[in-house]
Structures are given as structure tokens and as C-alpha cells.
Amino acid sequence: MTASATDILPTDQSIGDISRQLTGIPLHFPARRQWWIAMTIAIVLLVLFIVSVIELFTRGVGIWGLNVPVTWAFAIHNYVWWLGIGHAGTLISALLLLTGSEWRNSLNRFAETMTLFAVVCAGIYPVLHLGRPWYLYWMFPYPATMGVWPQFRSPLEWDIWAVLTYLSVSVLFWYTGLIPDLANARDRARRRGWQIFFGILALGWRGSTIHWSRWSRTYRIMAAIAVPLVVSVHSEISLLFAASQMPGWHSTLFPPYFVLGAAFSGFAVVSVIAVALRAMFGLGNLVTRDHLDVLGKVLLATGLMTGYGYVFEVVDTLYGGNSHDLQTLLNRTIGAYAWLYWGAVVFNFVPLQLLWWRIVRRTGWALLLISASVIIGMWLERYMILVTTLYRDFLVSSWRHYTPTFWDWSTYFGTIGLFLVPFLLAIRFIPVISIFETEKTLLDEQEARDG
């Protein structure tokens, strides 16, 4: 018997199988080898990160390729990039939860997990970026003996609050969603250690009706809070640039432009992880081709919207006709860093067009490659936005190029390790796919089928 067109999960599987399959992943882990290979790479990168940070704190940000005028580069650029990635998880989950799109249930868990660690990577960068990081706490309002407070007109000050709020809400949202599964894992755990571990995390969940009703209310409220946050946070990040007067930054286009770009890169990462885990844990029955198909569509949609941003940025400049903005536009398109601009355009939008074809969307490896290209493209875009504005701003006499040093790169790749290590641990020790939610979806579908 086959699934009807509306079904996203094959209905010919029993609920018990699913929960056994999913809770089984942490308890007796499949694909140990791949996991260890991935983990080794991750750890190497993490070590690289630690070394870079030690060097950074001992010698100062001068180890990077920064100069005047380019006082912002890799640190801010990767910060924005990571934060962008960190948007998909919550967006998918919350938004689709509210719109009641059932297919989300197979994706939200690891999407949210990914979000958390991406945001952590993002959150680290502003600290590394500081000339005197040990005074970071001056950015927080507290009754200081100096009688001085933070400067609340500064986009950086807004930034701190935006990111911290987003991080905490994401954590809560993720954890709330996790509770029933933790209980499930607790009940299936055999060893005492696991039982206590999951037991405490499950907060004594018994799955009673009252639990369920309270839980779903909480979960939806959190989602309702999270969605506007996703938008506000990245809009705020964009103000880091738009609030200045620099040519190429000073534009009302930036907030939506950044939010869409964030979602775009985020969904790309989700797709990559979806395809990877699907292959790694043989979850074909839960993350089905239909899921990939939907992901492909979302990716295409957000991509096209981002593309609109590109187009409008040019139109805006030409229409505005400010000589300095035009200068910057030229620097971007034909200047020393033109490869960044065109690189971003190519990586972001050219492979993307393949997603118009259903077959491509439904082919794992194709989706994976396209998503990877998008991730690179978005990285180039953030680089481009920062450097092409700063290296040639208003006064010709201060124009100067920027070249990243070894430490720029090592810090960046290091953060990838910082992201992978906890993420791999997470998929190792907690259910990667929301058990009860998939079960619920399946149940509904089966009922629908049996009529």
C-alpha cells in the first residue's frame, strides 16, 4: 500500500518502530565510524580555534589583516554569516508550527539544534573582535563606580540585547520541544545513568493530558515570540551597517535584505544537514524525498527574494545618484574585490536555478551541492558588503586594501570546529528527530487513510 499524495511520511510504518528507531540512535548508536571521522575533523578545527584565540588575546587584533580604513572585516563578517545561519532553525520550527505545516516535524529538531550552536559561534565573534575584550562587561548596564552607562544610541549596544535575547529564546524553544522526547528516551533507557540523565532533563514529564495541553500552549506561545525575533534580530544586525553613513551601507534596504539572506543561508545549512543525517542514520523513511522537495522549494523562494535584494540595491544606487554610492557600486562590480561580488552572485543564484526541476529537488546529493554553494555564496556576500565599502570610502587619501592573514582564516575555520563539536555530540546523545511529533504526523495520516 502506498502513501497518498498529501502524505509526507510513508504510512506503512508502526509508531513503535519510529520511537524505537529514533531513541535507539543515542542509546545504541549507528554509523559510529562516520561519526568518529567527523568528530576528529571537528576536534582538529576546535584546537585550531583555541590556538588562534590564545594568540589573539596575547598579541591583539593586530594579528589580523585589519588596518585603517578597513577596521572591520573577518570578525564582523563571520559574525553576520553565522548569525544568518542561526536563523533557519527557529524560523522553520516556529513559523511552520504556527502555520501548522506538518512536514516540519521531521526537520525541526536538528534545525533548532544547529541554530543554537551557530548562534554561539556568532556570539563569540564580537568578543574576539574587541581591542580590549576583558572590558566587554562595560557594554552591559550595571551600577558602575565610574558613574557611566552604556551608550544606547549605538547599534552595537542594540546588538548585544538582540543576540542574547535571540539565543535565550532559541534555547528555551528548543528545550521545550525536546521535553516529551527526553521523557521517551528516559523510559526506554536501560542503564541507570541514562535514566537519570534523561530523567532530570525530562522534568518529570508523564505525558498526562494536562501536561500535553500546557505543553502545546507554551510551545505555541514561544513560537509566537520567536518568529518576530528572527526578523528583528537580523534587521538589527543590518543596522550595524545601515546606521552609518558609509556608501553602500547607508540604505533602508538593508534590514529585509539581511533577514532574507539569513533565512536563505540558514535553509541551505538545514538542507545540508538533512541530507547528511538522512544518509548517516538511514532515516529515509522519516526525512523523505518529499521533505527534500519542500526544502528545495523554500531554498529557491528565499534565494529569489535575496536576489531581488541584489537587484534593488543596484537600482537604488542608480536612482539615488549619489556620487560616492556610485563609486562604491563600481568598486563592487569592477573594483579590486569584484571577484567577491560576482562570486556571491554566481554561488548564490546560478546553481540555485536547478531547483526549478522537481527531480533535482528530490535528489539528495544535488540538493546538498546546491546548498553548499549557497553557503559559500552567502559567506562571500557578507565579506563583500563589509570590505568593498570600507576599503574605498569618502576620502580618496585614506583608500587602502584589506588582505586576511593566516590568523583571520584560522579563527574562521576554528569557529566551524566550535560549531561541529557540540552539534555532533548533540546528534550523538539526543533524538535528532522529534519522535512524538513525527508519530503524531504519522498517526494523523494513518487515520486519514483508514478514514
Binding site: V61, T71, L130, G131, S154, S244, M246
Partner: protein, 955 residues
Amino acid sequence: MTTLPKQWTSIEELAGDPAFAKKIAAEFPVAASFPPTARRDFLKIMAASLALAGLTGCEKSPFVAGIPYVDQPESALPGVPRHYATAVTLDGYAQPVLATTYDGRPTKLDGLPGHPATQGRSDVFMQAAVLQLYDPDRAQSPTRAGEPVTWTDVGAMFSDQRREWQKDGGKRLRLLLSQTTSPTLVRQIRELQSQFPAARVHLHDTSGERERIAHAIAAYGEPLDLHYQLDACSVVVSFDDDFLGPGPRQLLNAIKWAQARRRGDVPGIQLHCAESIPAATGAVASYRLRAAPSRMPHLVETLAARLGVVGASVNDLSAEERRWLDRTGAALNAAKGRALVTAGLGTGAQTARWVAQINETIGASGQTLKLTSPVADPGVATASLDELVIDMNTGQVDTLVILDANPVYTAPGSLDFASALSKVKTSIHIGLYRDETGHRGTWQLPLTHDLESWSDARAVDGAATIIQPVMTPFYDVRSRHQIMAMMLGRDQAADESVRKTWRDAFGESFDAKWQQALRDGLVAGNAPEIQATPVSGKIEPAPPGADGSDIAFRLDPTVWDGRFANLGWLQELPKPLSTLTWGNVVAVSPAWAREVEVENGDVLEIDIDGRKVSGPAWIMPGQADNTFGLWLGHGREQAGRVGDGIGYNAYSVRPAATPWLAQGAVRKLDRKETLAVTQLHHRMEGFDLVREVSVASPTLPAPSPQPSLYPPHPSAKNAWGMVIDIDSCIGCNACVAACTAENNIAVVGKAQVEMGREMHWLRIARYYVGDVETPRSYFQPVPCMQCEDAPCEMGCPVHATTHSPEGINQMVYNRCIGTRTCSSYCPYKVRRFNYLDYRYTPEAPAEPVHNPDVTLRSRGVMEKCTYCTQRIQAAHVAADKDNRDLRDGDVVTACQAACPTRAIVFGDINDPDSEVSKLRRSGRHYALLEKLGTRPRTTYLAKWNDGSDDEDDRT
């Protein structure tokens, strides 16, 4: 007048205290490198100030030692600066200065107000002299073959020598002098010759003063100094004479130039300049002609012919040259009595003679040209360096005394002085450093720095200054007069011989006059004017253009002839037109670069009759074709930790016969060097960064008001503002050097400058407009604009940069956490960031030179121009203490004080009568990037375009 030696007696012991010495060592890494004797003296000097200042602020324990005097002198007032009038020297000429000292430690020099030769203004060398005082690489005690000896040994050596000299009246004794104007030294040299009549004195000067006098002799038949009276001119014509460029005469010329330029509502003086290698003078010229040096004689003779000088014949000229000569001839004819023609070194004797004739014809002499007997006169008949080398090689020299010169490095390569020196039995080098010559000499006797010497010298205008020490020497060194006295068989106190000279001069009431002279830093009276007429008679026609290319030699605009090579401040000072730091280049013309496919940094090999040197190319817009420029003063080997091995040594290919212009070949090597330049892009790209007005339309359009979301800041009584007159700026860098000295600007070194991390708070932006062959050049000093609606203030998350009620963007280092947002948001990019800890780099200035009123910035903090806020606060305190308002001129910023052309004016824009307010009402007044609505407090006066592309010319 100084009473310093007395002051320090109270703390000698303190200096000996080991615990304290340890603290000093921590505070002054420099001191650690001193030999014991010098170290003790140094500590002695430093002790009081340090002790009272509290050694350092970052001590772990909250309770630090407080060390008072045992017996505090009346004059000592800890933390309050005292000022002394004295002088430093450049090429032997006095640069009269007012030295600012804190607790006995000089930290800043400014031109001496009221002195005719400086009028309170300064140049880069004067500003940097104080850094040389503390140079840890100075020779710190006498040495014999490199081994430290005592001055007693030196005394013994001299008495032995004297016995030798007496045998044959000093026949085998030679004295090699650098250029000097010191009456006392002249007296001592005379005395030496009277004691040893057979001894010969040779003169070696690197700066071309001898050639100047030789030209004067050729033109007027007697040795003369030519003093340009630019303030009396309305037309000046320069043949490759960079009289506004660096050198002892720059200050005086620039001051007078600016006076003339500002005469009336329209430019009061026009400059016609035929120039081979672009320099300051050509950059400000109204009509500039690109011409190879070897063309100058032809051009000047043709000009003479047009002005009807007898015997002058018209040479064949290019259209470009003819056009320029037409205009120039007409201008001179129209301005007889108010015009002046000048010729530079390397243009040859014929040029000098034609110029003299022309000046006679246009009635310059007495009006715009003042002649005096040479200010720099050794007082005895002297022979040249070439003759000395011949005698040395032929073994006629047993004892060679080299006084304050470094011939092994600075002698033309063709002489090969080093090998000649090795043939001398005893060579005694007397100098500030144990330099190339000092290392090869038998004895090296360290000199005191001018700021720790009793001496005297004359300024370029002939006025004498008695040089008094502003601190006791902290190395084991002696002044040149003490050492000369030893040669004369006496052992004298530092000031004795100087006093003797002036006792003779002043006659009765010596003490009063002496005190007066010390207080004023000036002895009344200067060189008397001389009436001289050009020698008549036929002037041989200029030789036809020789084969090979013209290779012109120039002294480096920042390290001069190499004597300042170890001063980080000067090495890192961007050179006027190229903005190059840390090194020298070979300037080539754009056309040649295109032809040979040379880019900036490609290494070129210069070959002058067989001697070769190679250096990186620099394509100089506006440079004459077939002409190459080499800069002397780099490629030092024994300069010290900062100056060694930077750039190439152009002396090595310098011909002794024609030291300023040679013929040679240039070829491209396939190597490339990275050049540390501070400005990479020089075209204005069609932006109106530098604006121009012409006589036809002398006012700029009024700016449209820019709306702002923020309410205007309430203003205090004083609102500070600055106006910079682009028309007056000659790009001399004095302001940048002064800012560096005043505000403890870090020296970051070549590598960091290459990365774009120089720390100068004030940069002189340089732009070219027009085609690369004959561009118009502009200098635009860019300090912090102190915007009233400042993007930086809005960006900082921690209130580290805020707005003061007097309208200054305050940068608070100790609050800064280094987000660098302010710099990202700054449209003018005037902020500088401490990417690394630049306080203790190898190139960093010695600690004692730092201004104690300005914080040393640590790693990770932003910094920028503060309008010299420490001076503003000091003025406020002074005014508040006697409860009065500030007057215009109470606050003078370092850059403003230094500027020789008074292009920078600072003051209170709330006071309608202040000079700055008046300038802000001028028709030439405009704000940089005013469309951004930042409302800068630092604004500009547009440049007068009275040159080649104004209306009358286009028709």
C-alpha cells in the same frame, strides 16, 4: 637661563639607590642600555620627575612610593613645564627654539617666538631634535678602537699628539670640519692655527652650502649669501630651486612666501617654476614647467635674452618651454623691482651668472634680493675634501681630526674616503654617534647634543644665538668646545670658551648682556648687507645636452643627509609628495615608466661612470623625462637600531666633481621591493575634496543647510574650531612632526605602515589633478574634523567617544574597548587604532621624550586628534585661576604653532572677532563632505587657482 646642575644635587644619592634604579630600569628600557657612568647621570636627571610623578599608574599595589626632595630648589615646581630659549643646529645654522621641559626633562621644541628667522614656527628637523637627545644609540663614552676609555685618557692622547704637532708646526695634522657658524668654534680654530700654523683645515658639507657660495663667486666675484626677500616680491621665477623645500632656509622662505601670498584679497605673489623633480616649490607654483636639469642653462639664457640682457642668445625651445618663457618674461617685465629669479643647486655656474644678470636687469638686488657675506664662515682658509683625500692617500696625514662629520658615509663614492682613512696613522672622530666614520677611526669622542651643550651659532639670516643646555648630559660626553680646548691644551668647563667669545664681543656690562642674550635666545644684530654687482664679461654658452640621462641628487626631506636616520619620528614621516616612509626611492618620469614597463617598487640599477647602486622605482607624476631623482641620507650601516639598513645609499654613486647633477644610465632589475607609503591613491576621482577659486570667481557657492534628526548640542562659552588654508599649505610636514612630538604619537615601524597602520593624527593628503605628465598638485592637511553631528559618537557602545560642550569629539582611551565602530563610521577616516602594543616597539621613542600631559595609548584602544586638548585644559586652568575668560590666542595647537605659512588657524568660533571666525566668513571657506551633514568644526579655505588653467590662459 638654566640652573639645572644645581637642581639635581639633591637626588644624586637617590639615583644610586638600587631599588629605585630597578624601578627606573623598568620605566626606562633605554636606561638599561647605558654604561654605568652615563646611567647614573641619566638616573640623576630622571629621578626627581619620576619620583614626584609617581613611577607608574598601573602598579599592582594601590600604595606606591612618594619620594620628595631632600631640599627642594625654589625653581622646581613638579609637573609644571618650564621654557628655555636656546637653539638646535641644522647644517651648522642655528634653529632658534623654545624648549619645553618638565621636571628638567625637555619634551618639546618650538620655533623661538620673536626671532626673525623662525618667528615661532618650526620645521620637521627642529621638531625631531629633542628625540635625538634621548637616542639610546648615541655614543655614550669616549672609545679607543672600540674600547671605552676615560676623558683622562683622551687628555693624555691629546697632549702626546700636541707634542708631535709642535715638532713640525702641525704639518701632518688635518682638521676636517662640517659646516659651522659658531663664533666660538671659529675662534678656537683660529687659535689652533695660530698654535700650529702648518696644520690645514678642510671643510666637508653635504648640504650644498659650498656650491651655493661657489655659484655666488662665479656670479658676483666674491663669496656671498643670497637672501630672498620673498615678502617683497609679486613674481618669483625658480629654475629648479626648491626654496620652499626642506633645509635650513625653508622656514624663513616659507614665512615670507605666505606673507606675500596673503597680501591683499587676491594672491599677492605668483610663482613660475621650471622644475625637473617635483617638489614643494613646483607644487605651489602657478605656472610650472617640466624641464630636465640640463635644460636649465638654456632656459635661463633665453629668458635673459628676452629681458634684453647683453650677450644672451636665444636657444631653440620646445613649444611648451616657449609658452612658459613667454608668460614668465612678460610677468617679470611687468613686475620690475618686485620680482626675483632664483636657481637651484646643480643648475651650474652659467645659470647662476645669467640669473645674477637678470636680477640686476629687473632691479631685484637690494629690493627682493639681499646679499651678505657668508653666514657660515670657518674663519680660516679651508681646503676641500677632495684635496684632503689626495693628501691622505699620498700619506701626508698623520693625524686627522674629524669634527662632527661622517665622511665615510657622506663623502662622494668616487673619493672612497674609507680606504683613504685607513692610511691615516691617528684619526680622531668627534661626533654625536659612533657612526660609520667613528667605527673606522682610532678614537671616537662623543659630543653633547645641542640641548645639553654650551655653544653658539648663527641662523640663516646671520643673527647669533647663544646655545644653553636645557639639561645636564646624561651620557659621558663633552661639547665640541671642550674638546677643541683639549686640543688647544686646556681643560675647560662647558661654558667657559663660549663665555670668553662673548665677553670679547659684549665688552663692558657683560653679565647683563649675557643674561639678556640667554633670555632672548638672540644676540642683537645680524649679517650686514653688501652691495655687489654681477661680474660682466662673456658667459660661455651652456653645453649641449650630454649623452646619458640626468641623474639629480636630493637630500632626503625627512632624514636629511642621513644624520637623522636613527629617529623613528622622521623615518615614519610621510615624504611630502610620495607619502613614502622608511626608505628612499628612485624617482622616474611616467613616460619612462611606461616605456620600460616599470611599476612602483621595481628595483632599478643606477650606473654613474662605473659605480652602481640599486633602489626601488617611484613613478613621479610631473617629473621631467630623461631625468632620475636619487635621495641621499639612507642606506646607513652604523646609524643605530632604527636607521640601519633602510633604503639605498646614494652617496656611493655620487661624483665629487658634480655632486648634484650627474649623467648616468638606469636599467630595470627583475626584483621588487615593498614600499611603505601612507597614501596609495592620488587622483581626486572627480570629488570636490579640494576646492578652488579663481580671481574671476573668488567665492564658493554658499552651502545648503543640512537637516539633522538630532537636536543641536548646547554650546559652552568657547566653541573650538579650526580653519586650514589649502592655498598656503606647502606640504612641509612640520604640523605632522609637531603633532607627533606633542601627542606622543607611536612609531609603528615599516611593516605596520605597509599594513596601513600608521598612527599620525594628522595626515597631509596629496592629490593630483590633470594628466600624469603635467598635473596640478594639492596638499590638504586632514586632522579630526571634530564634527558637531559626529557619526563616531553615535556608534560607540560605551561612551568612549563623546561630545564636549566646547564642540570637541572627545576620545577617552581608558574607556575604549576597541570595537572600532567609530572608525568604521568616520567618513574622514582620521581615527587611528592601536592594533598591537606600539609603546615598546624597537623603533619606539625613548620614554623621557613623552609629553607627561598626554596618556600613552595601550594596545586595543582608538585614538585621534584632540585639538591638543591638554593645551586647552591648561589654558582654561590658567584663565580660571585668575577668573577671566579665554582670549583669542590663549590656546594654540601644536600643528598651528609649527606651521611656517600660518595655514592652520585655531580658535573660538563663538567669538566673532577671533581670527578663526573671520576666516570662516571668507568666500573661500568650505567644509569637507558638507553634504553628509556632519557639520565639521575643522574647515578649509579653497585654493587659489591663479595658474595655468585660469580663464586668460584658456583663450
